[in-house]
């Protein structure tokens, strides 16, 4: 039943953020690296929505970029439908590329302002040679109607549309190569809530109709809860907890997840008691040793300051926390 479509194994990415060579020599500095993603494992099954949630510096966008091949990983590997993704060219890679797509955060930057909407949507069709001639125009019209716009809109330029309409155009472009898997990088965080609702509903409808699989990246826990079947929580480049969708919100295991949940404004005015959030995210260039969450953690112990916590199974998924390991041992 659960057939894995995307497997991410031991994924890591380091960025060289050193100053230029000449400055380093003159100022006697060493090379500097930023570890954006470290040792991340997860599997996405066909037809499900897997969400990665985290704050700034969590590495969620870096993972998205590596999954679609915009950035090469420095360690680990990504397996798409049994094929290891490596390199950027070659016929097999080209065939693979047709099967995944990406939707971006900022609909004002994701559409080329000099292109007509029709040309934008048709680019993947041309790139993969899927259709020719008037068939392309028809398909573009069809796609525009699928996302709730009209076929005549193909003649217009992006600036003639609102943010929500532009995001629909971006979705139409993503669908045009008939992909199975779409990486959605904060697809609604630049939109107003009522528009967000339209886009989220559309994305779910499309998933049901076309059997799509989503990797959904977001910082918004309420949106993630609404969309995801399974959720991975990232903190400073590491996966700290993974759980089945709604279960995460009933019983969060990792103290960071609990803190995140407590930080979400209480719209229901339920008056639930919440632990005040402490501190800020440390600078990822120089993360704390051991468990990188330990300076903000209410459960901090000596071993958290030295050793990276192992991943252990929880009732709802898995988590990486010394306190949980200790509780499991007892």
């Amino acid at each position: 039943m659960a057939e894995p479509l995307l497997q991410v194994q031991g994924l890591g990415r380091r960025f060289d953020i050193s100053r230029p060579w000449l400055n380093r020599v003159l100022e006697r500095q060493d090379r500097q690296f930023l570890t954006a993603v470290a040792d991340v494992d997860f599997t996405i099954n066909r037809g499900e929505t897997y969400a990665l949630v985290g704050e700034s510096g969590s590495g969620k966008s870096t993972i998205a970029k590596m999954v679609v091949g915009l950035l090469p990983p420095t360690s680990g590997r990504i397996v798409f439908d049994g094929q290891v993704m490596a390199g950027t060219e070659g016929a097999s890679m080209r065939a693979l590329r047709r099967r995944f797509q990406m939707i971006f955060q900022d609909p004002f930057a994701s559409l080329n302002p000099r292109w007509r909407v029709g040309e934008i949507i048709a680019e993947p069709i041309h790139r993969f040679g899927l259709l020719r001639g008037s068939a392309v125009t028809n398909r573009v019209g069809e796609l525009l109607e699928t996302v709730g716009l009209s076929a005549q809109d193909a003649e217009k330029y992006p600036h003639e549309f609102s943010g929500g309409q532009r995001q629909r155009i971006a979705i139409a472009r993503a669908l045009s190569s008939k992909p199975e898997f779409i990486v959605c990088d904060e697809p609604t965080s630049a939109l107003d809530v009522s528009v967000q609702a339209q886009i989220l509903n559309l994305m779910r409808d499309l998933q049901d109709e076309l059997g799509l699989t989503y990797l959904f990246i977001s910082h918004d826990l309420s949106v993630v809860r609404h969309m995801a079947n399974r959720i991975g929580v990232l903190y400073l480049g590491r996966l700290v907890e993974e759980a089945e969708g709604k279960a995460l919100f009933r019983a969060a295991h990792h103290p960071y997840t609990r803190m995140l949940l407590d930080a979400v404004p209480d719209l229901a005015l339920s008056g639930r008691r919440r632990q005040p959030v402490e501190g800020e995210i440390p600078n990822p260039i120089d993360p704390p040793p051991g468990c990188s969450f330990h300076p903000r953690c209410p459960l901090v112990m000596d071993r958290c300051r030295t050793g990276t916590p192992p991943v252990i199974a929880t009732q709802t998924g898995r988590a990486a926390c010394h306190a949980l390991t200790l509780a499991a041992d007892v």
Partner: protein, 330 residues
């Protein structure tokens, strides 16, 4: 009810453009009581930031106040000279913006900016001003304030910078603080801290707050009353709990339903059809009528007044014409 601290009546803000004059705010009226936190929500283009800018006299030209009046403690401030307005800004009305960097001068230390502001508005010595500044930074939660006061803005993290801005807004002991999307640029966990801080510190000093945001959650956590704007007009105003749990205007109801929450189980989010009209094409009658599920004939021709339906509660919707009459009689 005591005399309002800020009173806005029939405020009209217009932008002359080459294709005619756009009315960005159209007949907006509301009061803020002393010590009250008034939330103002609306989608982009609804006019919430313009309201803040109009109050503090910082409308970007060619925008101008074309009608109505703004009173601070019953003194008209919309007709003041730019010089007189400058004295009120900072002294009697403090400001916190979304991007802390627009409020802080990157070339000066935090100490210099704080002491200068304190000394512009109060006759104190340099040493006294510095003492006050350190106390204020300490109050807004900057660790080791006495040392960090001599740092430049870029030495602070985003959350800490916003704390500095809050200190700067409060250092002249203003009666009103206008906070325009103060937490939008911040991470979820930091956002919660800043909301709590604004709420606490203004209550402590008896300052009223106009909290402008697109995030209903932030309003729910912070505000006493909330005003909902739509297309430059007031849709609804009332106590936060009432508006959230029992919204009267169909737009507010749609808006509330479109927000995914951590507690409710919904398969589909409520969707308001269409999009907010552009300022060039505001429909006749009620601006919301083409998107409204409960639209009546009258809505297409007559613009609804803000009808008082209860204590501090107004709704601009014909559905409530009867309630309003009842409230007037009772």
């Amino acid at each position: 009810m005591s005399a309002p601290l800020l009173s806005v009546r029939d405020l009209i803000v217009e932008f002359p453009t080459r294709r005619g004059t756009l009315r960005a705010l159209d007949g907006l009226s509301f009061d803020i009581a002393p010590g009250e936190v008034l939330g103002m929500v609306g989608e982009s283009g609804a006019g919430k930031s313009l309201t803040g800018a109009a109050i503090i006299g910082l409308l970007e030209p060619p925008g101008r106040i074309a009608g109505g009046e703004i009173r601070l403690r019953s003194e008209r401030i919309d007709t003041l000279s730019p010089d007189a307005m400058r004295r009120i800004r900072g002294k009697r009305i403090g400001m916190v913006f979304q991007d802390p960097l627009t409020s802080l001068n990157p070339l000066y230390t935090v100490a210099r900016q704080l002491t200068e502001t304190i000394r512009t508005h109060a006759p104190v010595s340099e040493a006294e001003a510095r003492k006050r500044a350190v106390a204020l930074l300490d109050r807004v939660g900057i660790p080791a304030a006495a040392r960090r006061i001599d740092d430049y803005p870029h030495h602070f993290s985003g959350g800490m910078r916003q704390r500095v801005v809050i200190a700067l807004a409060l250092c002249a002991e203003p009666e009103l603080v206008i906070a325009d999307e103060p937490t939008t640029a911040l991470d979820v966990s930091v956002q919660a801290q800043i909301i709590d801080l604004i709420k606490e510190i203004c209550a402590e000093r008896g300052a009223s707050v106009l909290l402008i945001t697109h995030d209903m959650g932030v309003i729910a956590e912070t505000a006493d009353r909330v005003a909902v704007l739509y297309a430059g007009r007031l849709a609804e105003i009332g106590p936060v709990r009432e508006v959230i749990t029992n919204a009267a205007h169909p737009y507010t109801r749609g808006l509330m339903g479109s927000i995914p929450t951590l507690t409710q189980e919904t398969d589909r989010l409520v969707q308001i059809p269409g999009a907010m009209p552009r300022l060039t094409a505001i429909p006749q009658g009620c601006a919301f009528n083409p998107r409204c599920r409960e639209v009546m004939d009258r809505c297409r021709t007559d613009r609804p007044e803000a009808l008082t339906t209860g204590e501090g509660r107004q709704v601009a919707c014909w559905l409530h014409a009867d309630d309003a009459q009842e409230a007037a009689r009772g």
